[in-house]
Amino acid sequence: MMTVAQLNSIRDRVRKELLIREPHNRLVVGVGTVGIAAGAREIMAAAMEVVNTLGLDMVVVGEDLSVPAEQMPVVRFIGADGEEITFTSVTASKIREIVKDLADKVGTAENA
């Protein structure tokens, strides 16, 4: 027999996974050939790790953002309300801080 509490706990756990399909807040990492050469994939990995650890209501997306090569790697935050913030010349360690700073803005997936 399943209890309502058990049902809710499955719901909450899997709902987080499914946020990818209906994202509220997005962190777009400029991938593409230049971006990847500049270390975009490592940045993505780092960003996802923090998002996951903090359980944030935010998904990390790779996109071919068009910015001048010298600004690469580039990361753009797009909030649920449409707010956009662009970060340039990002590094793996910088991105950790950026994500932590965004944490308050996006909130946790738990409360999504």
Partner: protein
Amino acid sequence: MGLIRSHVLVCAGTGCVSSGCKMMQEAMQQALERHGLSSEIKVVETGCFGFCKEGPIVMVYPEGTFYCQVKPEDVEELVSEHLLKGRIVERLLYKEPVSERAISLFNDIGFYQKQQRVALRNCGKINPESIEEYIARDGYQALAKAVTQMTPTQVIEMVSESGLRGRGGGGFPAGRKWEFARVAQGDIKYVVCNADEGDPGAFMDRSILEGDPHSVVEAMAIAGYAIGAKQGYVYVRAEYPIAVERLSIAIKQARELGLLGKNIFGSGFDFDLGIRLGAGAFVCGEETALLTSIEGHRGTPRPRPPYPAVKGLWGKPTLINNVETFANIPVIILHGPAKFKSIGTDTSPGTKVFALAGNINNTGLVEVPMGTTLREIVYDIGGGIPGGKAFKACQTGGPSGGCLPAELLDTPVDYDSLTAAGSMMGSGGLIVMDEDNCMVDVARFFLEFTQDESCGKCVPCREGTKRMLEILERITNGEGVAGDIELLEELAEVISRTSLCGLGQTAPNPVLATLKFFRDEYEAHIYEKRCPAGVCQALLSYAIVAEKCKGCGLCKKVCPVDAISGDLRQPHTIDKDKCIKCGACVAKCPFKAISR
């Protein structure tokens, strides 16, 4: 990386499976492995997105990019460009029929913009073989609420209050039916889901079962609680193997989690489900025939009353609803009737799923609020008529529905408006016809279907539809005589008023509706021996219009029976005795000089 950053949803509904999604999906897995992405990108099989014409369909999340007609050979590019480098693969995007504009986001596509997905809420969004994904989208919350917080009467009041009407064709208020079944005397009762879906164009029930089977399982359990039944059956046609498989998986998973079985949510309520396969006769969708078939007999209708709610399966009170009807139930219970009623019209609340087909750019499944006009469906969602042809009519209600002409394009689709206009809602088939369709031939076509599917039990339907069809065949063969229209009308009236079941009662509708709106076409066939749309072979007479003919001789070359003669740069002529009316010359003539 280890963390999943993207979900690639691949449609695995019947439409896409038949257009090759399995091979494509394998290619996708391999490409992901090759690029070392398999640990961060998850491929998910989903149910139908509805846009089957464009299948196989691939959705990439979180971007929400919508790719169409993806073939195995496209996969490498999709993975290396989009999934690795974040570059959208333009050529695989959906292109708007008129503007040719490529659109990447699902919600920006006209086909989806005007839709509102209630019954199809999870189709294409979740993996139908994962009960957890269903639960994540509030699945089984309605059941939990019903059995732990509500009395059966309260559940039924809520369904009544929502105004939900049966989506299987009749449009009977669901709440009233549930109440009949609840008050019916009987220690044993049953809940039955009608998933026979006999209407040849329709596939919404299949899509729901393939894309969101748990919604039906949950709703049937709620119904069981409401009427006092412990057992339910889903009657699915055997030609829907994927639906059957997904439903079996869903039932198994629900049993494993205790969402079916004994003492659900500790409420003391027991409920279980079984699947029964139908052989696929159209008439087996009729509720009494369906029950007879479940009982193991030849599926023929029985007289009503008694109605199934009083005396149904094995003589016990039985609630029978359609798949789409059930799919709406959890939403109503969870979010309340007011929210449901805020969609649609007063007398027809909620949405309805239609299967768009025929001469229209976007074919597929669309779910729209009741009250949306035919025009919006045909033009805004369906993308209009291909090749710049003129709209002529649209058939709603399946083979026993009616054809509405262009003047009625602003008819809102809801039960009452469609009936008032001379057609009906039916199960939601919507077939668009353009200027090249002969309406007599269309009526003949539909009648051929119903007369073929008549179970043969009662005389008016068995014998009458046969005679109606014979008359229509005569008319389209150029052998119509004065009096045929009147005889058709008389037969139609008798058949519809005396037949035993809905099949016979509605079988004459296509003829009545085309007679109502396109009587002149019948008259042209009978009295002038002419088919205005140029469809009925026997009535065509090919001739070259001398003024238009430039004497290029192309028609002469293409004619398979050498019926065309003429000197170069002189008007040509067709020998009517030789002509076999194949139409090859018409297609070839660059000057449109050949008439028929």
